[in-house]
């Protein structure tokens, strides 16, 4: 089938999360007529619980390549300055990290500051080596030079290789060693266990099910150190999502909210359009889905996929482990020595690597952690609906389906565990809580459709990364069904608010259209 060149090719993107929007803008910028269908009532996907409020906290790697497709500069995003990180310590000697400055809350210098800075610098160097991998489809390893596509992949690989070669010889060896090790060992080799070591390990495990000692955690850590520091969007994630959606619309993208994708229309082994829950069919040459691999497969129907592909997708590990707890507070809580620096800072409730390891354990047995670790944000209210102050916590590792079920008691137990742990540092906290709201991984799945409510749509582990993401044989954004593409966090390079899977997938789809090839 050759496309009618008098008509703009049409694409439908499923989902108005950061990746759906990045994909849509990327295609629109290349002359494609793009409609985004979003089940929720607003943009943002997992940033906002699909328009229902706030789920995410910070942005650290909204990638310039994706922003460029959206026609946005970093300045247009309303991201504030890098936020300070406060590491809550069991002994009350909290640590404050502000850019390069690391000290105790009382201003005394931290003895491990130099070692910490050296390790971060090393991580940043290694992250730079990996960076080219994130902005392209994973290399087609082993395809050889049989075709042009294979050649350009090799060139890409060579560039990565070049990056590696630019490292001094010792660093090169070290890079390869580190890549295969795990976050806990890597950090503990350089730093004594404590809040500072734990803060790096926390970056490696946030959003995943893996414990700090699991292989693949170093890669997650490096991805997250490829961008800058953490920034908080003005007006929260909902405002950021609106800005991104507005940018996509300015590119000519049509976004339809309250529109649920109900089926992918296939004819002659090619995608022909998308059917909505209302029965309406939007005709299109291609559909890009930012949903997880399984919901996408179900939209098309297993009949269009080989049994091996179905089996791999069935086998994807995607039980989420991040819950979000929201507390409305009667006033700003206080922490000794941190007055005035608490508001808007990133508080880490992760006193040691050992504590993180312990907090990761119960999930294996379907239990709710008694001493969870968490990233906490406290913001003064605007005097409106959110009250005088608002605390939110991203809590790890929370089971998707606890043995006991998500009963009211189970929910209260988790909230109490978080409030109790924070209460040791903010003694008045329990009394300040006027309202508490918990979103478990299961609730997040219900809100956003993300499989298992998983931060990355599928665990970012060694066997579900790079050429194995979302699954072996589909790692270059093309599902095996011609015209159907994966463009969400479940695809390479994974989740976080980066826009990269969306942008990369759209480039692959556009290249396919450009060739007028239906395959």
């Amino acid at each position: 089938m050759a496309f009618d060149h008098n008509r703009r090719p049409r694409a439908v993107v499923i989902g108005a999360g950061v990746n759906g929007l990045a994909a849509a803008a990327t295609l629109a910028a290349r002359g494609v007529d793009v409609t985004v269908v979003e089940r929720g009532r607003g943009p943002g996907g997992m940033m906002t619980g699909a328009g229902q409020g706030e789920l995410g906290h910070f942005v650290w790697n909204l990638h310039p390549a994706a922003l460029a497709e959206l026609g946005l500069g970093a300045a247009d995003l309303g991201l504030g300055a890098e936020v300070a990180t406060v590491l809550l310590a069991a002994d009350g000697r909290h640590v404050v990290i502000e850019g390069e400055a690391i000290s105790f809350a009382d201003g005394t210098p931290h003895p491990d500051a130099a070692a910490y800075r050296a390790l971060r610098a090393r991580l940043a160097r290694f992250a730079a080596v990996l960076a080219p991998l994130a902005t392209a489809a994973p290399p087609r390893l082993g395809s050889g030079m049989l075709n042009r596509a294979g050649l350009s992949d090799l060139a890409q690989l060579a560039r990565t290789g070049l990056g590696l070669r630019r490292l001094p010889r010792d660093a090169r060896r070290e890079f390869l060693r580190v890549l295969l090790s795990n976050a806990a060992d890597l950090v503990r080799d350089e730093l004594p266990d404590g809040p500072l070591a734990a803060s790096l390990v926390f970056d490696a495990i946030l959003g995943g099910r893996a414990a700090p000692g699991a292989p693949g955690t170093v890669l997650a850590l490096l991805w997250r150190h490829a961008g800058g520091g953490r920034r908080r969007p003005a007006g929260g994630m909902a405002a950021l999502a609106r800005r991104i959606a507005g940018a996509a619309e300015a590119r000519g993208v049509t976004i339809r909210y309250d529109a649920t994708a109900a089926g992918i229309e296939v004819e002659g082994d090619r995608v022909r359009g998308l059917r909505l829950g209302s029965g309406e069919v939007i005709a299109a040459e291609m559909v890009l889905s930012s949903l997880g691999a399984m919901p996408t497969l179900r939209l098309a129907g297993p009949a269009h996929f080989d049994a091996e592909a179905c089996r791999r997708i069935r086998g994807l590990r995607c039980e989420g482990t991040t819950a979000r707890l929201d507390l409305r507070l009667a006033e700003m809580p206080r922490i000794e020595g941190l007055d005035g620096r608490l508001a808007g800072a990133r508080l880490l409730l992760a006193p040691s690597v050992a504590a993180i390891e312990a907090a990761c354990r119960p999930v294996k047995y379907g239990a709710i952690p008694a001493s969870p670790v968490a990233e906490v944000l406290i913001e003064p209210g605007d005097g409106g609906a959110e009250g005088p102050a608002h605390l939110s916590a991203l809590v790890q590792h929370v089971p998707y389906a606890p043995e006991c079920g998500w009963t009211e008691a189970a929910r209260e137990a988790l909230a109490a565990a978080v409030i109790g742990a924070l209460g040791t540092h903010m003694p008045g906290l329990p009394g300040l809580v006027t309202e508490s709201r918990l979103a478990t991984p299961r609730d997040i799945e219900t809100m956003t459709g993300a499989p298992g409510g998983h931060w990355h749509h599928a665990e970012l582990a060694a066997d579900q990364m790079l050429t194995l993401r979302p699954v072996n044989g589909m790692a270059r954004y093309a599902s095996s069904l011609p015209g159907l593409w994966f463009c969400g966090a479940g695809a390479h390079p994974g989740g976080d608010i980066t826009g990269l899977p969306g942008r990369n997938a759209a480039l692959a789809a556009a290249a396919d259209l450009g060739q007028g090839v239906t395959r």
């Binding site: 082994d269 297993p302 009949a303 269009h304 996929f305 080989d306 049994a307 091996e308 179905c310 089996r311």
Partner: protein, 401 residues
């Protein structure tokens, strides 16, 4: 005739004892008839390689009628509203065109278009299929059926199977009160409740396969045995049938191809095109497993080609290397036999695609002669598959012999 009684007919190693092997429903009769005590392992069942002399058994297939116990064959039942869709998703042929009461020879492939196995597919009803094959497929069928509304049952132990093959096979049925004069090749009949007879088989000649619950197996055997007494009916083992199937040009899993799920080296997989079975792939039907890979394969010249060779002389070419234009190695024989009825020395051989289309092939045959290996270079020619395809195999009603 000693080359008929060769050792390498079976893809499975010979087992010296019956230890650990299950008995089939026909085992008491087979044991009573066995004089050779030459048994083999067929899917974990005790199965005769030969009951008496292989040559006698072979000639019974071609001149009289024979009984061969096919109970060890894996049998799967697929039923339910999506049964046709699931089976069509499995195999490369279009099952929508297979009417109830008919059988089809089918292949199925993995996602790369490599053959997993071949077998016979029985359409017992609009939503009711039985698949008979060599390899275990239970887990694979579940993979194929995931997301569809079907039930899959492994019927291997619940259905006894008996192949009645040879020119007088219909006469035997008739004498047993089971005449099926109107049953066409690949047809299915149920002359008595609980007894299914299909006009199918592996011999290339007139023949039937009888399927029933194991409880009725011995009574059926005895009934046919009495009926066949004057018609030369003989019980046979695998070795004789193996000669017949090569003569008839039928490939066998483990010999002509390595089922891809059993192959440890992915490069050992073969596409239907490479096996010369491209006509069994229907690219026009909706998506089926491996379809996209098979379309790509169909568009390019196969790497290799399975062919039938006619080899000069009478020496058994089993395992022979085949050379093209002098010394260039072009492939090897996968199964070979002196075809006694066609009186030709034949072999299935897998050759480089280019060699398969050209003349000047030679087979390097080694024969052990009283403690010494003798090497022969015999010229070989690619011929049409199946040197024994008598019209009587297809005549309806079957002729009387």
């Amino acid at each position: 005739m000693n080359r008929i009684a060769r050792e390498t007919v079976s893809p499975r190693p010979r087992v010296p004892s019956r230890e650990g092997l299950a008995d089939t429903p026909f085992e008491p009769r087979l044991r009573a008839l066995s004089t050779a005590e030459d048994w083999m392992d067929w899917s974990g069942c005790l199965s005769p390689r030969a009951l008496g002399a292989v040559e006698t058994e072979y000639f019974a297939i071609r001149n009289q009628a024979t009984l061969f116990d096919v109970s060890p064959m894996h049998k799967y039942r697929v039923t339910g509203p999506d049964a046709e869709r699931v089976v069509n998703r499995l195999v490369t042929r279009d099952v929508a065109r297979l009417a109830p009461g008919r059988v089809a020879y089918v292949l199925w492939c993995d996602e790369d278009g490599m053959v997993i196995d071949d077998g016979t597919l029985f359409r017992l009803g609009p939503q009711d299929f039985r698949l008979c094959c060599q390899e275990r497929q239970f887990a694979w069928l579940h993979d194929i059926a995931w997301g569809f509304d079907v039930a899959i049952a492994d019927e291997t132990g619940d259905v006894a199977g008996l192949a009645l093959q040879g020119p007088t096979s219909h006469a035997v049925l008739e004498a047993a009160g089971l005449a099926l004069p109107d049953l066409r090749p690949f047809g299915i009949a149920e002359p008595e409740p609980g007894l299914v007879i299909s006009r199918t088989g592996f011999s290339g000649d007139l023949g039937y396969e009888l399927w029933l619950r194991p409880e009725g197996a011995l009574a059926l055997w005895d009934r046919l045995w009495v009926a066949g007494a004057d018609l030369g009916l003989r019980a046979i083992g695998f070795a004789a049938l193996d000669i017949a199937r090569i003569e008839a040009g039928f490939i066998m899993a483990g010999a002509e191809f390595q089922p891809i799920h059993r192959a440890l080296r992915p490069s050992r997989g073969r596409t239907p095109f490479e096996l010369g079975l491209g006509h069994l792939v229907d690219p026009g039907k909706p998506h089926f497993n491996g379809r996209r890979a098979l379309l790509r394969e169909a568009a390019r010249t196969p790497r290799r080609q399975l062919v039938m060779l006619d080899i000069e002389g009478t020496k058994d070419a089993s395992g022979a290397l085949v050379y093209h234009r002098g010394r260039r190695e072009a492939g090897h024989a996968t199964s070979a036999v002196w075809a006694p009825t066609a009186k030709r020395n034949i072999a299935f051989a897998e050759l480089d695609a280019r060699a398969a289309r050209s003349a000047g092939l030679r087979a390097e045959i080694y024969t052990l002669k009283e403690g010494r290996w003798e090497r022969t270079m015999a010229s070989a020619t690619v011929i049409d598959r199946g040197v024994f395809r008598p019209p009587r195999a297809r005549a309806t009603p079957p002729g009387r012999f």
